[in-house]
């Protein structure tokens, strides 16, 4: 389910992008799932077509969805390599933290701060 809250300080395109990205990452939306067309989703959520288009474009740039011409937009298999890359980066980060002697709580706080700055899926900026 996608929820767009008009009263939220997060822009609607970001609310949409973050929710779709989270559902793709946690497999609620399986690889190959066909997403609604931009026009359809814009009508459903009472958003401008450009707003949904921007969210889709960002998801496409992140490799989470792919557009196959007139057939529509689909959840991309690229989402899985992206997760694997994230795991590899986390292992490298964990190794670095161990090498410089930073404790786990501090290491997690650094990651959370970094995610808050870059805006991870599902997190308001």
């Amino acid at each position: 389910m996608i929820v767009i809250d008009a009263g939220s300080p997060t822009p609607p395109y970001e609310q949409l992008r973050a929710q779709l990205a989270r559902q793709i990452q946690d497999r609620s939306l399986a690889v190959g799932t066909r997403l609604p067309t931009i026009r359809r989703l814009a009508a459903d959520l009472s958003l401008a077509v450009n707003t949904v288009g921007r969210a889709y474009r960002e998801l496409e740039e992140a490799g989470l969805i792919e557009t196959r011409g007139r057939a529509g937009s689909f959840v991309s298999a690229a989402g899985e390599p992206a997760l694997e890359q994230a795991r590899r980066a986390a292992r490298d980060y964990a190794a670095f933290i161990a090498s410089v002697g930073i404790d786990h709580t501090e290491a997690i706080r650094i990651v959370e701060a970094a995610l808050a700055v870059t805006g991870s899926p599902g997190t308001d900026r």
Partner: protein, 258 residues
């Protein structure tokens, strides 16, 4: 929200497995629009049947040689289809207006196609009903009775118009925006979509047309077949409804994204 509306919405929700959902003005508005549309649709069909039967009966003494009754009947069919189309459009517009007032909008992340909303058994049933009526009308055309031939032409016009009308309205039902503010109202939205789609393919005009119009100077096999088509159709519809999941389950299945 009035107490009567609250009770009605609660009953609707309970019957569809959403007993724990609290009735909202949004649901009350949408259900009221559908209720009025259903009454108007029944009245339209009744008026059409009376008008068609009168035109047909009054034209019989002329021996079926005049084109005027045929034109009037065709106009009645077209008028009914246009009125039904406008009625469908009125329901969608009322939904959109109700949705436009929501501060929070919710949608399903997956496109719901006809398979998920209507289901294959209902689609097959609709096609079979149409094919049966169409074949009957076509097989009556070579018969020498001019009144019967005129009737068959009207049935064919009616079936073509109804077929196009159903496809267009079904498209509208599937493509109309979701009107929901939370998970419960999104489920209710899909349930309404399933009910609207099933109501569209449940034949009324398709059963009525052959029974009214395939009536010549004498009774023939076509009269027996047109009655048999209705009886077989009713049995098939009961079986389809008995065998397929209820609207609540269908809607929840359609909403399952995996």
């Amino acid at each position: 929200m009035r107490q009567a509306d609250h009770t009605e919405v609660k009953q609707w929700l309970t019957q569809r497995g959403l007993a724990d959902v609290e009735p909202t003005p949004l649901l009350a508005t949408r259900l009221a629009v559908r209720r009025h549309a259903k009454v108007a649709d029944s009245l339209l069909l009744a008026a059409f049947l009376i008008g068609a039967a009168l035109t047909h009966a009054l034209s019989l003494p002329a021996g079926g040689t005049s084109w005027l009754p045929l034109l009037v009947l065709a106009a009645l069919v077209v008028g009914l289809l246009v009125a039904q189309w406008l009625l469908g459009g009125w329901v969608r517009r009322a939904d959109q207006r109700a949705g436009g007032e929501l501060p929070r909008r919710v949608a399903h992340p997956v496109e719901l196609g006809w398979r998920a909303v209507l289901g294959r058994p209902h689609a097959m049933f609709a096609i079979a009903t149409f094919a049966g009526a169409l074949l009957l009308a076509l097989s009556v055309l070579p018969i020498a009775d001019a009144t019967l031939r005129n009737g068959a032409v009207v049935v064919l016009i009616g079936l073509a118009g109804t077929g196009v009308g159903i496809v267009l309205q079904l498209r509208q039902v599937l493509a109309s925006p979701a009107v929901a503010e939370d998970e419960a109202s999104l489920t209710a939205d899909v349930i309404m979509r399933v009910e609207d789609a099933r109501a569209l393919v449940t034949p009324s005009l398709v059963w009525s047309l052959p029974a009214i119009f395939l009536y010549g100077e004498s009774l023939g096999w076509w009269n027996a077949v047109s009655v048999a088509l209705v009886v077989a159709g009713v049995i098939a519809l009961c079986l389809v409804q008995f065998k397929t999941a209820d609207v609540g389950t269908t809607a929840r299945r359609a909403m399952a994204t995996r």
